[in-house]
């Protein structure tokens, strides 16, 4: 089992590639790996429940740990206590923690 950190900076309103990235996260879990999907920048926008949040819900259901950068949330006025179910606010420090943990890390 390997550990992965997938950082998502894009949002589904602006990019139609976020779905592929979420699906990749799910596929890695399906293949037995531990995966964190860390949302940052506009990547946190679908964490506010809305029309394009289903991908995150699916990722959570498939066993992906979905975290949203607390600064990016605050910057956009998204309340950390009103996120899509299963998505948690987290400090960017988590990314550095997981980098030094040696996770295979991608920035999208």
């Amino acid at each position: 089992m390997a550990k992965y950190l997938l950082i998502e900076s894009r949002d589904p309103f602006d990019s139609n590639d976020t779905g592929s990235y979420q699906a990749l996260a799910g596929e890695l879990v399906k293949q037995g790996h531990k995966v964190t999907l860390f949302l940052v920048q506009n990547g946190v926008l679908p964490a506010r429940p809305g029309t394009k949040s289903q991908g995150l819900t699916d990722a959570v259901k498939s066993g992906v740990e979905v975290l949203a950068d607390d600064f990016s949330l605050r910057e956009r006025g998204i309340r950390a206590d009103k996120l899509v179910a299963g998505v948690k606010a987290a400090p960017l420090d988590v990314v550095v923690d997981q980098l030094v943990e040696g996770r295979k890390a991608l920035f999208h």
Binding site: Y4, D17, L24, Q31, H33, K104, F107
Partner: protein, 126 residues
């Protein structure tokens, strides 16, 4: 350390640079001894299309003398021993057939991409 370079952005500043800068840096890193593979996905699958022609541009009196030849550069990577994978679904979505593409590519499905990650120590998503 085996590294997978993912190339997905396509035709970004390729005229100004006369290259795709990630295909280029892959060549340079290979030359510096790196153990690399490449995955073309998203719009970058178009880099493998035969018959691309960016020649003939001029800006006032200034002519571009070396237009980018990206498919050739991708082929050259393979000649150097760099495995070049290409995302099958992205190829099909863009209306491309296998015969539209240069030889030597290794098609990979979405599920296969996850397995490909497993075979590499680092994944660099450019």
């Amino acid at each position: 350390m085996k590294t997978l370079n993912i190339i997905e952005t396509a035709y970004r500043a390729t005229i100004e640079e006369q290259d795709d800068t990630i295909v280029w840096i892959t060549h340079a890193m290979k030359g510096a001894g790196a153990d690399l593979s490449v995955l073309l996905r998203g719009n970058a699958v178009n880099y493998a299309v035969k018959g691309q022609d960016a020649s003939g541009l001029s800006f006032g009196s200034e002519k571009q003398t070396h237009p980018p030849m990206i498919a050739e550069d991708v082929a050259a990577l393979m000649k150097k021993g760099v495995a070049v994978y290409i995302a099958e679904e992205d190829v099909a979505a863009r209306g491309l057939e296998r015969t539209d593409l240069i030889e030597g590519l290794k098609p990979v499905s979405r599920a296969g991409i996850a397995k490909l990650f497993d075979e590499h120590d680092q994944i660099w998503n450019w």
